[in-house]
């Protein structure tokens, strides 16, 4: 695996990469990138380094690949879950907030890994672009789904994207607070409350229908 030459993605290869991704996620979450060695990831995946070097050039590449992959998967999941909701059943802003919060979830391992990814991205323009692209995708999805949910709650966002950006920022900031005090339920409650107030702050009453 040298340079940018594309290897054919046979079934075996795909499976190997999948297991390495998974192992990388676990190891990086548990011990942290920069501490974990190639060999540790391989061991956790049940391989030797031969498999690794046949699939990736460096730990950095594996990290990026893993993060992008899982990032996509999570976004797709979120999209699916929210698409399955009947917008007609949403009656209040509080409901919207709880719905989205539940759908997003709060995965400790993933947040840890993402925190480190962010830290790296702040130093690497290429990674920054990756992060920016992902955020844009989230914002776009949120914006559209929020608008349809808020309709049922009798509200309308003036600029859905700005609202979505605000919610993402709040999500990031409060996640850190939640996971810094993992045994304390209060940050979770404050988070929901803040979500709700922000939604109100960026929406107006939508004249027309609603409860």
């Amino acid at each position: 695996m040298t340079g940018t030459e594309l290897k054919r993605l046979t079934k075996r290869r795909v499976e190997t990469r999948r297991r390495l991704h998974q192992a990388a996620l676990e190891e990086f979450a548990e011990r942290g990138f920069g501490v974990v060695t190639v060999e540790q990831v391989c061991a956790a995946a049940g391989f030797t380094r031969g498999a690794f070097y046949s699939n990736f050039d460096s730990l950095d590449e594996l990290f990026l690949s893993m993060w992008e992959d899982r990032s996509r998967a999570l976004l797709a999941d979120l999209d699916e879950v929210l698409a399955a909701v009947d917008p007609g059943e949403v009656r209040s802003v509080r409901q919207v907030v709880e719905l989205v919060d539940r759908a997003v979830g709060l995965d400790d391992a993933w947040f840890r890994v993402t925190a480190e990814f962010s830290a790296h991205a702040l130093r690497d323009p290429a990674l920054r672009r990756v992060m920016a692209a992902r955020e844009e995708a989230i914002v776009a999805m949120l914006a559209s789904v929020l608008q349809s949910f808020l309709h049922g709650a009798g509200r309308r966002a003036e600029d859905p994207k700005v609202l979505a950006l605000a919610l993402v920022a709040v999500h990031d900031g409060t996640s850190l607070q939640c996971l810094t005090e993992p045994d304390d339920p209060r940050p979770r409650l404050r988070r929901l409350d803040l979500f709700e107030r922000v939604v109100f702050a960026y929406t107006v009453e939508s004249t027309g229908e609603s409860a």
Copy 2:
């Protein structure tokens, strides 16, 4: 420097530690913890590793020491700056927000280093406590100073600490957005806007005086 034995802090020692702290901040911000070696930090500080091992046990210890030290210094600065403001001159929420935002600033290097510190803290209970303590100090300071500023703007927070916690979360989340797109001024503007709306969302009109 083995174990927890306390070396007497002579002038020379203090100066050496200061330079190592400074060099660590720069190197970690530039290249990232986990990539930087002991030797690189020492070189950046104009020392060899002898000085390092005479003052610290490991890079981790230096990182923690440096972060705590600077963290304290920044908080003290912030306190000083805000204490110098005449609360009587604050007339609007917008002014409060801009004041605090200006005082906090947005130091790229410091944010990078803190991002990595957070990532580590999510894995290490001892570091988590350090972070929590610092957050508490910030919140306490913000809460008190906000209350006095808001008074001039004709508003009053029901629970100043909750407001402060919300603002800290918003600050963290939006900082990431700002530094992810360093050349785009819009995140900065959105940030101020979000601050302002959150302040309104967590305060009520204070009957009595004000403009």
